[in-house]
Subunit: 279 residues, 2 copies
Amino acid sequence: MKTVSLNRSHGGVQGVYTHTSSACNCDMTFSVFSPPQADTQSCPVLYYLSGLTCTHANVTEKGEFRQIAAELGLIIVCPDTSPRGDNVPDDEQYYFGQAAGYYLDATEAPYATHYNMYSYVTGELPELVSQNFNADMDRQSVFGHSMGGHGAMVLALRNPGKYKSVSAFAPMCAPSQIEWGEYAFSRFLGTNRETWQAYDTVALINSGSRLPELLVDVGTADQFLESGIRPGLLKKACDETGIDLTLRMQDGYDHSYYFISTFMNDHLAWHAQRLGLTD
Amino acid sequence: MKTVSLNRSHGGVQGVYTHTSSACNCDMTFSVFSPPQADTQSCPVLYYLSGLTCTHANVTEKGEFRQIAAELGLIIVCPDTSPRGDNVPDDEQYYFGQAAGYYLDATEAPYATHYNMYSYVTGELPELVSQNFNADMDRQSVFGHSMGGHGAMVLALRNPGKYKSVSAFAPMCAPSQIEWGEYAFSRFLGTNRETWQAYDTVALINSGSRLPELLVDVGTADQFLESGIRPGLLKKACDETGIDLTLRMQDGYDHSYYFISTFMNDHLAWHAQRLGLTD
Protein backbone atom coordinates (compact mmCIF):
# COMPACT_ATOMS: atom_id res chain seq x y z
CA MET A 1 0.00 0.00 0.00
CA LYS A 2 1.40 3.39 -0.99
CA THR A 3 0.37 6.71 0.50
CA VAL A 4 -0.81 9.25 -2.08
CA SER A 5 -1.60 12.08 0.33
CA LEU A 6 -2.14 12.81 4.02
CA ASN A 7 -3.98 15.90 5.27
CA ARG A 8 -4.74 16.75 8.85
CA SER A 9 -8.45 17.49 9.14
CA HIS A 10 -10.85 17.89 12.05
CA GLY A 11 -8.19 16.58 14.44
CA GLY A 12 -7.66 13.35 12.49
CA VAL A 13 -5.94 12.41 9.26
CA GLN A 14 -7.50 12.16 5.81
CA GLY A 15 -5.37 9.80 3.74
CA VAL A 16 -5.49 8.58 0.16
CA TYR A 17 -3.78 5.30 -0.70
CA THR A 18 -3.10 3.05 -3.68
CA HIS A 19 -2.30 -0.63 -3.93
CA THR A 20 -2.23 -3.40 -6.48
CA SER A 21 -5.49 -5.29 -6.10
CA SER A 22 -5.53 -9.04 -6.61
CA ALA A 23 -9.34 -9.07 -6.74
CA CYS A 24 -9.51 -6.46 -9.50
CA ASN A 25 -6.17 -7.14 -11.19
CA CYS A 26 -5.24 -3.47 -11.32
CA ASP A 27 -4.09 -0.62 -9.11
CA MET A 28 -6.87 0.67 -6.88
CA THR A 29 -7.12 3.94 -4.96
CA PHE A 30 -9.12 4.51 -1.79
CA SER A 31 -9.35 7.04 1.04
CA VAL A 32 -9.37 6.53 4.80
CA PHE A 33 -10.20 9.08 7.46
CA SER A 34 -8.61 8.17 10.78
CA PRO A 35 -10.19 10.03 13.69
CA PRO A 36 -8.04 11.32 16.55
CA GLN A 37 -9.21 8.44 18.76
CA ALA A 38 -7.36 6.01 16.46
CA ASP A 39 -4.05 7.36 17.80
CA THR A 40 -4.66 5.56 21.06
CA GLN A 41 -7.35 2.90 20.52
CA SER A 42 -8.84 0.73 17.81
CA CYS A 43 -11.90 2.30 16.20
CA PRO A 44 -14.85 0.84 14.32
CA VAL A 45 -14.88 1.05 10.53
CA LEU A 46 -17.63 2.51 8.34
CA TYR A 47 -17.36 1.88 4.59
CA TYR A 48 -18.89 4.41 2.21
CA LEU A 49 -19.66 3.08 -1.28
CA SER A 50 -20.01 5.78 -3.95
CA GLY A 51 -22.31 6.07 -6.93
CA LEU A 52 -21.99 6.13 -10.72
CA THR A 53 -19.27 8.37 -12.22
CA CYS A 54 -17.51 8.81 -8.85
CA THR A 55 -14.12 7.87 -7.48
CA HIS A 56 -13.11 7.81 -3.80
CA ALA A 57 -12.50 11.56 -4.15
CA ASN A 58 -16.05 12.88 -4.50
CA VAL A 59 -17.31 11.93 -1.07
CA THR A 60 -13.90 12.49 0.48
CA GLU A 61 -14.02 16.12 -0.64
CA LYS A 62 -17.76 16.86 -0.54
CA GLY A 63 -19.26 14.41 1.96
CA GLU A 64 -18.80 16.53 5.10
CA PHE A 65 -18.24 13.43 7.23
CA ARG A 66 -15.01 14.29 9.02
CA GLN A 67 -16.29 16.57 11.76
CA ILE A 68 -18.75 14.07 13.16
CA ALA A 69 -16.51 11.07 12.45
CA ALA A 70 -13.83 12.78 14.54
CA GLU A 71 -16.31 13.45 17.33
CA LEU A 72 -17.60 9.88 17.32
CA GLY A 73 -14.33 8.05 16.70
CA LEU A 74 -15.19 6.39 13.40
CA ILE A 75 -12.75 5.29 10.69
CA ILE A 76 -14.32 6.11 7.30
CA VAL A 77 -13.15 4.03 4.32
CA CYS A 78 -14.09 5.14 0.80
CA PRO A 79 -13.17 2.80 -2.07
CA ASP A 80 -13.36 3.52 -5.79
CA THR A 81 -16.44 2.48 -7.77
CA SER A 82 -14.75 0.08 -10.20
CA PRO A 83 -11.44 -1.26 -11.41
CA ARG A 84 -9.47 1.31 -13.42
CA GLY A 85 -6.81 1.48 -16.09
CA ASP A 86 -6.06 1.15 -19.76
CA ASN A 87 -6.39 -2.64 -19.60
CA VAL A 88 -9.80 -2.57 -17.91
CA PRO A 89 -12.75 -2.91 -20.31
CA ASP A 90 -14.85 0.24 -20.43
CA ASP A 91 -18.04 1.40 -22.13
CA GLU A 92 -19.41 4.57 -23.63
CA GLN A 93 -22.37 4.58 -21.20
CA TYR A 94 -21.66 6.34 -17.90
CA TYR A 95 -23.68 3.69 -16.12
CA PHE A 96 -21.51 0.75 -17.07
CA GLY A 97 -17.80 -0.02 -17.02
CA GLN A 98 -15.19 2.12 -15.33
CA ALA A 99 -16.78 4.14 -12.47
CA ALA A 100 -19.73 1.73 -12.61
CA GLY A 101 -18.70 -1.60 -11.11
CA TYR A 102 -21.97 -2.23 -9.20
CA TYR A 103 -20.09 -3.90 -6.32
CA LEU A 104 -20.48 -7.34 -7.93
CA ASP A 105 -18.18 -10.11 -9.15
CA ALA A 106 -18.56 -10.36 -12.92
CA THR A 107 -18.79 -13.77 -14.51
CA GLU A 108 -18.73 -12.83 -18.19
CA ALA A 109 -15.80 -12.09 -20.50
CA PRO A 110 -14.16 -9.61 -20.87
CA TYR A 111 -15.32 -8.22 -17.52
CA ALA A 112 -14.65 -11.09 -15.11
CA THR A 113 -10.88 -10.51 -15.07
CA HIS A 114 -11.16 -7.09 -13.40
CA TYR A 115 -14.74 -6.39 -12.30
CA ASN A 116 -14.74 -8.07 -8.90
CA MET A 117 -15.73 -5.22 -6.65
CA TYR A 118 -17.80 -7.51 -4.41
CA SER A 119 -14.74 -9.53 -3.47
CA TYR A 120 -12.73 -6.36 -3.25
CA VAL A 121 -14.95 -4.47 -0.81
CA THR A 122 -15.90 -7.49 1.30
CA GLY A 123 -12.48 -9.15 1.39
CA GLU A 124 -9.36 -7.50 0.06
CA LEU A 125 -10.09 -3.95 1.22
CA PRO A 126 -11.02 -4.87 4.81
CA GLU A 127 -7.84 -6.96 5.01
CA LEU A 128 -5.79 -3.93 3.95
CA VAL A 129 -7.61 -1.74 6.46
CA SER A 130 -7.01 -4.21 9.24
CA GLN A 131 -3.28 -4.37 8.45
CA ASN A 132 -2.67 -0.65 8.10
CA PHE A 133 -5.03 1.19 10.44
CA ASN A 134 -6.00 1.03 14.08
CA ALA A 135 -9.29 -0.62 13.14
CA ASP A 136 -11.57 -2.80 15.25
CA MET A 137 -12.60 -5.29 12.56
CA ASP A 138 -15.26 -6.78 14.84
CA ARG A 139 -17.15 -3.50 14.44
CA GLN A 140 -17.77 -2.74 10.77
CA SER A 141 -20.72 -1.03 9.09
CA VAL A 142 -21.49 0.05 5.55
CA PHE A 143 -23.41 2.76 3.74
CA GLY A 144 -23.46 4.35 0.33
CA HIS A 145 -25.14 6.49 -2.30
CA SER A 146 -27.12 5.46 -5.37
CA MET A 147 -25.15 2.58 -6.95
CA GLY A 148 -23.20 2.56 -3.69
CA GLY A 149 -26.41 2.38 -1.68
CA HIS A 150 -27.27 -0.69 -3.73
CA GLY A 151 -23.81 -2.03 -2.92
CA ALA A 152 -24.15 -1.37 0.80
CA MET A 153 -27.53 -3.09 1.07
CA VAL A 154 -26.38 -6.10 -0.99
CA LEU A 155 -23.22 -6.50 1.11
CA ALA A 156 -25.26 -6.45 4.31
CA LEU A 157 -27.98 -8.78 3.00
CA ARG A 158 -25.47 -11.34 1.76
CA ASN A 159 -23.23 -11.29 4.84
CA PRO A 160 -25.44 -11.51 7.94
CA GLY A 161 -23.59 -10.36 11.03
CA LYS A 162 -20.57 -9.01 9.14
CA TYR A 163 -21.84 -5.44 9.30
CA LYS A 164 -23.34 -4.03 12.48
CA SER A 165 -25.53 -1.64 10.48
CA VAL A 166 -26.35 -0.49 6.97
CA SER A 167 -27.83 2.69 5.55
CA ALA A 168 -28.15 4.40 2.20
CA PHE A 169 -28.70 7.70 0.42
CA ALA A 170 -30.98 7.34 -2.61
CA PRO A 171 -29.98 3.72 -3.25
CA MET A 172 -30.73 1.74 -6.40
CA CYS A 173 -33.20 -0.59 -4.72
CA ALA A 174 -33.91 -2.96 -7.60
CA PRO A 175 -31.21 -2.75 -10.29
CA SER A 176 -32.72 -5.70 -12.17
CA GLN A 177 -35.80 -3.61 -12.84
CA ILE A 178 -34.17 -0.43 -14.19
CA GLU A 179 -32.44 0.38 -17.45
CA TRP A 180 -29.05 1.05 -15.85
CA GLY A 181 -29.04 -2.27 -14.06
CA GLU A 182 -30.34 -4.29 -16.98
CA TYR A 183 -27.61 -2.87 -19.19
CA ALA A 184 -24.87 -3.55 -16.64
CA PHE A 185 -26.01 -6.88 -15.20
CA SER A 186 -26.58 -8.45 -18.64
CA ARG A 187 -22.99 -7.64 -19.55
CA PHE A 188 -21.39 -8.44 -16.17
CA LEU A 189 -23.47 -11.51 -15.32
CA GLY A 190 -25.00 -12.74 -18.57
CA THR A 191 -28.56 -12.81 -19.77
CA ASN A 192 -29.93 -15.34 -17.26
CA ARG A 193 -31.79 -13.05 -14.91
CA GLU A 194 -31.74 -15.66 -12.14
CA THR A 195 -28.08 -14.82 -11.58
CA TRP A 196 -28.89 -11.13 -11.16
CA GLN A 197 -30.86 -11.74 -7.98
CA ALA A 198 -27.67 -12.16 -5.94
CA TYR A 199 -26.99 -8.47 -6.52
CA ASP A 200 -30.47 -6.98 -6.25
CA THR A 201 -31.72 -5.78 -2.87
CA VAL A 202 -35.43 -6.23 -3.53
CA ALA A 203 -34.85 -9.66 -5.09
CA LEU A 204 -32.63 -10.74 -2.20
CA ILE A 205 -35.26 -9.70 0.36
CA ASN A 206 -38.03 -11.38 -1.60
CA SER A 207 -36.02 -14.60 -1.75
CA GLY A 208 -35.42 -14.68 1.98
CA SER A 209 -32.41 -12.52 2.87
CA ARG A 210 -32.97 -10.36 5.93
CA LEU A 211 -31.63 -7.30 7.70
CA PRO A 212 -32.50 -6.32 11.25
CA GLU A 213 -33.03 -2.71 10.20
CA LEU A 214 -32.24 -0.20 7.50
CA LEU A 215 -32.06 3.62 7.28
CA VAL A 216 -32.69 5.16 3.84
CA ASP A 217 -32.93 8.83 2.87
CA VAL A 218 -34.28 9.82 -0.56
CA GLY A 219 -34.87 13.33 -1.87
CA THR A 220 -38.30 14.09 -3.29
CA ALA A 221 -36.60 16.11 -6.07
CA ASP A 222 -34.20 13.30 -6.95
CA GLN A 223 -33.97 13.27 -10.74
CA PHE A 224 -33.54 9.49 -10.71
CA LEU A 225 -36.39 8.67 -8.33
CA GLU A 226 -38.24 6.40 -10.75
CA SER A 227 -35.55 5.68 -13.34
CA GLY A 228 -32.95 4.59 -10.81
CA ILE A 229 -33.98 4.52 -7.15
CA ARG A 230 -37.53 3.09 -6.85
CA PRO A 231 -37.86 3.45 -3.08
CA GLY A 232 -41.44 2.14 -3.27
CA LEU A 233 -40.16 -1.30 -4.27
CA LEU A 234 -37.86 -1.37 -1.24
CA LYS A 235 -40.64 -0.26 1.08
CA LYS A 236 -42.97 -2.96 -0.24
CA ALA A 237 -40.35 -5.68 0.15
CA CYS A 238 -39.49 -4.55 3.70
CA ASP A 239 -43.15 -4.19 4.70
CA GLU A 240 -43.94 -7.69 3.47
CA THR A 241 -41.02 -9.30 5.24
CA GLY A 242 -40.93 -7.36 8.50
CA ILE A 243 -37.63 -5.59 7.87
CA ASP A 244 -37.50 -2.47 10.03
CA LEU A 245 -37.00 0.13 7.30
CA THR A 246 -36.77 3.82 8.17
CA LEU A 247 -37.44 5.44 4.80
CA ARG A 248 -37.31 9.22 4.90
CA MET A 249 -38.49 11.16 1.85
CA GLN A 250 -36.62 14.47 2.19
CA ASP A 251 -38.58 17.37 0.80
CA GLY A 252 -36.91 19.23 -2.06
CA TYR A 253 -33.60 17.39 -2.00
CA ASP A 254 -32.02 16.04 -5.20
CA HIS A 255 -29.44 13.33 -5.94
CA SER A 256 -26.31 15.44 -5.34
CA TYR A 257 -23.68 15.68 -2.64
CA TYR A 258 -25.63 18.68 -1.33
CA PHE A 259 -28.26 16.10 -0.35
CA ILE A 260 -25.78 13.52 0.94
CA SER A 261 -23.84 16.00 3.08
CA THR A 262 -27.04 17.32 4.65
CA PHE A 263 -27.92 13.94 6.14
CA MET A 264 -24.37 12.66 6.67
CA ASN A 265 -24.47 13.51 10.39
CA ASP A 266 -27.68 11.54 10.88
CA HIS A 267 -26.23 8.48 9.19
CA LEU A 268 -22.95 8.54 11.09
CA ALA A 269 -24.80 8.99 14.39
CA TRP A 270 -27.07 6.07 13.49
CA HIS A 271 -24.13 3.81 12.69
CA ALA A 272 -22.16 4.96 15.75
CA GLN A 273 -24.99 3.87 18.01
CA ARG A 274 -25.11 0.43 16.42
CA LEU A 275 -21.32 0.15 16.56
CA GLY A 276 -21.43 0.72 20.31
CA LEU A 277 -19.91 4.19 20.27
CA THR A 278 -22.97 5.91 21.71
CA ASP A 279 -25.97 4.85 23.78
CA MET B 1 -28.51 37.68 -13.03
CA LYS B 2 -29.06 34.13 -14.29
CA THR B 3 -29.40 31.05 -12.13
CA VAL B 4 -26.93 28.29 -13.02
CA SER B 5 -28.01 25.79 -10.37
CA LEU B 6 -30.05 25.48 -7.18
CA ASN B 7 -29.60 22.64 -4.71
CA ARG B 8 -31.38 22.21 -1.42
CA SER B 9 -28.80 21.67 1.29
CA HIS B 10 -28.90 21.69 5.09
CA GLY B 11 -32.39 23.14 5.00
CA GLY B 12 -31.40 26.11 2.83
CA VAL B 13 -30.58 26.61 -0.82
CA GLN B 14 -27.13 26.55 -2.41
CA GLY B 15 -27.30 28.58 -5.61
CA VAL B 16 -24.83 29.40 -8.35
CA TYR B 17 -25.43 32.49 -10.49
CA THR B 18 -23.89 34.37 -13.41
CA HIS B 19 -24.21 37.96 -14.53
CA THR B 20 -22.47 40.43 -16.79
CA SER B 21 -20.18 42.47 -14.59
CA SER B 22 -19.65 46.14 -15.37
CA ALA B 23 -16.69 46.32 -12.98
CA CYS B 24 -14.89 43.41 -14.66
CA ASN B 25 -16.27 43.76 -18.19
CA CYS B 26 -17.03 40.06 -18.47
CA ASP B 27 -19.46 37.45 -17.25
CA MET B 28 -18.87 36.52 -13.62
CA THR B 29 -20.05 33.50 -11.65
CA PHE B 30 -20.64 33.37 -7.89
CA SER B 31 -22.41 31.18 -5.36
CA VAL B 32 -24.82 32.12 -2.57
CA PHE B 33 -26.03 29.90 0.25
CA SER B 34 -29.36 31.11 1.60
CA PRO B 35 -30.13 29.65 5.02
CA PRO B 36 -33.68 28.60 5.91
CA GLN B 37 -34.13 31.75 8.01
CA ALA B 38 -33.93 33.84 4.80
CA ASP B 39 -37.36 32.48 3.82
CA THR B 40 -38.95 34.70 6.45
CA GLN B 41 -36.45 37.38 7.51
CA SER B 42 -33.46 39.29 6.19
CA CYS B 43 -30.17 37.68 7.16
CA PRO B 44 -26.64 39.05 7.52
CA VAL B 45 -24.16 38.40 4.70
CA LEU B 46 -20.72 36.83 5.02
CA TYR B 47 -18.45 37.03 1.96
CA TYR B 48 -15.84 34.32 1.44
CA LEU B 49 -12.94 35.27 -0.82
CA SER B 50 -11.05 32.32 -2.30
CA GLY B 51 -7.37 31.79 -3.00
CA LEU B 52 -5.14 31.29 -6.04
CA THR B 53 -6.31 28.79 -8.69
CA CYS B 54 -9.86 28.66 -7.24
CA THR B 55 -13.28 29.60 -8.54
CA HIS B 56 -16.44 30.03 -6.46
CA ALA B 57 -16.82 26.25 -6.67
CA ASN B 58 -13.96 25.04 -4.50
CA VAL B 59 -15.20 26.41 -1.21
CA THR B 60 -18.83 25.88 -2.20
CA GLU B 61 -18.15 22.16 -2.55
CA LYS B 62 -15.41 21.60 0.02
CA GLY B 63 -15.81 24.37 2.60
CA GLU B 64 -18.29 22.60 4.90
CA PHE B 65 -19.97 25.89 5.80
CA ARG B 66 -23.62 25.11 5.13
CA GLN B 67 -24.53 23.20 8.28
CA ILE B 68 -23.47 25.94 10.65
CA ALA B 69 -24.58 28.75 8.31
CA ALA B 70 -28.04 27.18 8.34
CA GLU B 71 -28.00 26.92 12.12
CA LEU B 72 -26.87 30.52 12.56
CA GLY B 73 -28.90 32.11 9.76
CA LEU B 74 -26.01 33.43 7.66
CA ILE B 75 -26.06 34.12 3.92
CA ILE B 76 -22.69 33.01 2.47
CA VAL B 77 -21.55 34.69 -0.76
CA CYS B 78 -18.58 33.23 -2.65
CA PRO B 79 -17.31 35.20 -5.67
CA ASP B 80 -14.77 34.08 -8.24
CA THR B 81 -11.10 35.03 -7.85
CA SER B 82 -10.72 37.07 -11.04
CA PRO B 83 -12.40 38.13 -14.24
CA ARG B 84 -12.66 35.28 -16.76
CA GLY B 85 -12.97 34.72 -20.47
CA ASP B 86 -11.12 34.58 -23.75
CA ASN B 87 -10.84 38.39 -23.84
CA VAL B 88 -9.35 38.64 -20.35
CA PRO B 89 -5.53 38.83 -20.26
CA ASP B 90 -3.99 35.78 -18.63
CA ASP B 91 -0.52 34.57 -17.70
CA GLU B 92 1.38 31.32 -17.58
CA GLN B 93 2.03 31.70 -13.84
CA TYR B 94 -0.73 30.28 -11.64
CA TYR B 95 -0.25 33.20 -9.27
CA PHE B 96 -1.14 35.92 -11.73
CA GLY B 97 -3.97 36.54 -14.19
CA GLN B 98 -7.14 34.49 -14.36
CA ALA B 99 -7.85 32.86 -10.97
CA ALA B 100 -5.44 35.37 -9.41
CA GLY B 101 -7.06 38.80 -9.33
CA TYR B 102 -5.80 39.78 -5.83
CA TYR B 103 -9.04 41.68 -5.09
CA LEU B 104 -7.56 44.93 -6.42
CA ASP B 105 -8.39 47.44 -9.16
CA ALA B 106 -5.64 47.27 -11.76
CA THR B 107 -4.29 50.51 -13.17
CA GLU B 108 -1.98 49.17 -15.88
CA ALA B 109 -2.74 48.04 -19.43
CA PRO B 110 -3.82 45.51 -20.51
CA TYR B 111 -5.18 44.52 -17.08
CA ALA B 112 -7.14 47.62 -16.03
CA THR B 113 -10.04 46.88 -18.40
CA HIS B 114 -11.04 43.69 -16.59
CA TYR B 115 -9.09 43.26 -13.35
CA ASN B 116 -11.23 45.32 -10.99
CA MET B 117 -12.06 42.78 -8.33
CA TYR B 118 -11.86 45.38 -5.55
CA SER B 119 -14.71 47.37 -7.05
CA TYR B 120 -16.50 44.14 -7.85
CA VAL B 121 -16.49 42.63 -4.37
CA THR B 122 -17.03 45.92 -2.50
CA GLY B 123 -19.62 47.41 -4.84
CA GLU B 124 -21.18 45.51 -7.68
CA LEU B 125 -21.52 42.14 -5.95
CA PRO B 126 -23.13 43.50 -2.74
CA GLU B 127 -25.56 45.46 -4.92
CA LEU B 128 -26.56 42.24 -6.71
CA VAL B 129 -26.90 40.43 -3.39
CA SER B 130 -29.08 43.15 -1.97
CA GLN B 131 -31.37 43.08 -5.02
CA ASN B 132 -31.76 39.32 -5.26
CA PHE B 133 -31.57 37.85 -1.77
CA ASN B 134 -33.20 38.45 1.59
CA ALA B 135 -30.04 40.13 2.84
CA ASP B 136 -29.58 42.63 5.66
CA MET B 137 -26.95 44.84 4.05
CA ASP B 138 -26.36 46.68 7.32
CA ARG B 139 -24.81 43.46 8.61
CA GLN B 140 -21.97 42.32 6.35
CA SER B 141 -18.72 40.56 7.21
CA VAL B 142 -15.89 39.12 5.17
CA PHE B 143 -13.34 36.30 5.35
CA GLY B 144 -11.17 34.35 3.01
CA HIS B 145 -8.26 32.00 2.36
CA SER B 146 -4.72 32.76 1.23
CA MET B 147 -5.05 35.38 -1.57
CA GLY B 148 -8.66 35.68 -0.39
CA GLY B 149 -7.53 36.19 3.19
CA HIS B 150 -5.42 39.06 1.88
CA GLY B 151 -8.51 40.35 0.09
CA ALA B 152 -10.70 40.11 3.18
CA MET B 153 -8.25 42.00 5.39
CA VAL B 154 -7.66 44.71 2.76
CA LEU B 155 -11.41 45.20 2.24
CA ALA B 156 -11.96 45.60 5.98
CA LEU B 157 -8.95 47.88 6.52
CA ARG B 158 -9.92 50.19 3.65
CA ASN B 159 -13.62 50.39 4.52
CA PRO B 160 -13.98 51.04 8.26
CA GLY B 161 -17.43 50.14 9.48
CA LYS B 162 -18.54 48.49 6.26
CA TYR B 163 -17.82 45.00 7.60
CA LYS B 164 -18.81 44.02 11.11
CA SER B 165 -15.95 41.52 11.31
CA VAL B 166 -13.10 40.02 9.32
CA SER B 167 -11.18 36.76 9.60
CA ALA B 168 -8.83 34.71 7.46
CA PHE B 169 -7.39 31.27 6.88
CA ALA B 170 -3.67 31.37 6.02
CA PRO B 171 -3.86 34.85 4.50
CA MET B 172 -1.15 36.51 2.41
CA CYS B 173 -0.29 39.11 5.01
CA ALA B 174 2.23 41.17 3.06
CA PRO B 175 1.92 40.56 -0.69
CA SER B 176 4.40 43.35 -1.47
CA GLN B 177 7.09 41.32 0.28
CA ILE B 178 6.61 37.96 -1.44
CA GLU B 179 7.40 36.71 -4.93
CA TRP B 180 3.74 36.08 -5.85
CA GLY B 181 2.69 39.57 -4.90
CA GLU B 182 5.69 41.31 -6.48
CA TYR B 183 5.01 39.54 -9.75
CA ALA B 184 1.28 40.39 -9.69
CA PHE B 185 1.36 43.90 -8.23
CA SER B 186 4.08 45.11 -10.61
CA ARG B 187 1.92 44.05 -13.55
CA PHE B 188 -1.46 45.14 -12.14
CA LEU B 189 -0.30 48.39 -10.49
CA GLY B 190 3.02 49.29 -12.07
CA THR B 191 6.51 49.39 -10.66
CA ASN B 192 5.98 52.22 -8.16
CA ARG B 193 5.77 50.29 -4.93
CA GLU B 194 4.04 53.18 -3.17
CA THR B 195 0.87 52.26 -5.05
CA TRP B 196 1.07 48.70 -3.80
CA GLN B 197 0.51 49.71 -0.19
CA ALA B 198 -3.21 50.23 -0.77
CA TYR B 199 -3.50 46.45 -1.26
CA ASP B 200 -1.09 45.17 1.38
CA THR B 201 -2.40 44.39 4.87
CA VAL B 202 0.86 44.93 6.74
CA ALA B 203 1.58 48.14 4.81
CA LEU B 204 -1.94 49.44 5.43
CA ILE B 205 -1.67 48.81 9.16
CA ASN B 206 1.78 50.37 9.32
CA SER B 207 0.48 53.47 7.53
CA GLY B 208 -2.40 53.93 9.93
CA SER B 209 -5.34 51.76 8.87
CA ARG B 210 -7.00 49.99 11.76
CA LEU B 211 -9.29 47.08 12.57
CA PRO B 212 -10.99 46.55 15.90
CA GLU B 213 -10.06 42.85 15.87
CA LEU B 214 -8.99 40.02 13.60
CA LEU B 215 -9.15 36.20 13.73
CA VAL B 216 -6.51 34.32 11.73
CA ASP B 217 -5.82 30.58 11.58
CA VAL B 218 -2.63 29.28 9.99
CA GLY B 219 -1.45 25.66 9.79
CA THR B 220 2.03 24.88 11.04
CA ALA B 221 2.49 22.51 8.08
CA ASP B 222 1.34 25.11 5.54
CA GLN B 223 3.63 24.70 2.54
CA PHE B 224 3.46 28.46 1.87
CA LEU B 225 4.11 29.64 5.42
CA GLU B 226 7.17 31.71 4.56
CA SER B 227 6.86 32.02 0.78
CA GLY B 228 3.28 33.29 0.86
CA ILE B 229 1.69 33.80 4.28
CA ARG B 230 4.23 35.40 6.65
CA PRO B 231 2.01 35.47 9.73
CA GLY B 232 4.88 36.88 11.77
CA LEU B 233 4.71 40.14 9.83
CA LEU B 234 1.00 40.45 10.59
CA LYS B 235 1.55 39.72 14.26
CA LYS B 236 4.30 42.35 14.48
CA ALA B 237 2.15 44.99 12.78
CA CYS B 238 -0.85 44.23 15.01
CA ASP B 239 1.24 44.12 18.17
CA GLU B 240 2.79 47.47 17.38
CA THR B 241 -0.52 49.16 16.63
CA GLY B 242 -2.78 47.59 19.22
CA ILE B 243 -4.94 45.65 16.80
CA ASP B 244 -6.57 42.77 18.68
CA LEU B 245 -5.27 39.87 16.59
CA THR B 246 -6.18 36.30 17.50
CA LEU B 247 -3.54 34.34 15.59
CA ARG B 248 -3.86 30.59 15.99
CA MET B 249 -1.05 28.39 14.68
CA GLN B 250 -2.82 25.07 14.09
CA ASP B 251 -0.57 22.11 14.66
CA GLY B 252 -0.01 19.86 11.65
CA TYR B 253 -2.48 21.58 9.31
CA ASP B 254 -1.55 22.49 5.74
CA HIS B 255 -2.90 24.99 3.19
CA SER B 256 -5.74 22.84 1.85
CA TYR B 257 -9.51 22.79 2.19
CA TYR B 258 -9.01 20.03 4.77
CA PHE B 259 -7.55 22.80 6.94
CA ILE B 260 -10.16 25.41 6.00
CA SER B 261 -13.12 23.12 6.62
CA THR B 262 -11.77 22.10 10.02
CA PHE B 263 -11.95 25.66 11.34
CA MET B 264 -14.93 26.85 9.29
CA ASN B 265 -17.32 26.43 12.24
CA ASP B 266 -15.12 28.57 14.48
CA HIS B 267 -15.00 31.35 11.92
CA LEU B 268 -18.72 31.37 11.23
CA ALA B 269 -19.49 31.38 14.95
CA TRP B 270 -17.06 34.27 15.43
CA HIS B 271 -18.67 36.30 12.66
CA ALA B 272 -22.19 35.41 13.81
CA GLN B 273 -21.48 36.87 17.23
CA ARG B 274 -20.22 40.12 15.73
CA LEU B 275 -23.18 40.24 13.33
CA GLY B 276 -25.56 40.10 16.26
CA LEU B 277 -26.83 36.56 15.63
CA THR B 278 -25.50 35.15 18.92
CA ASP B 279 -24.54 36.58 22.30
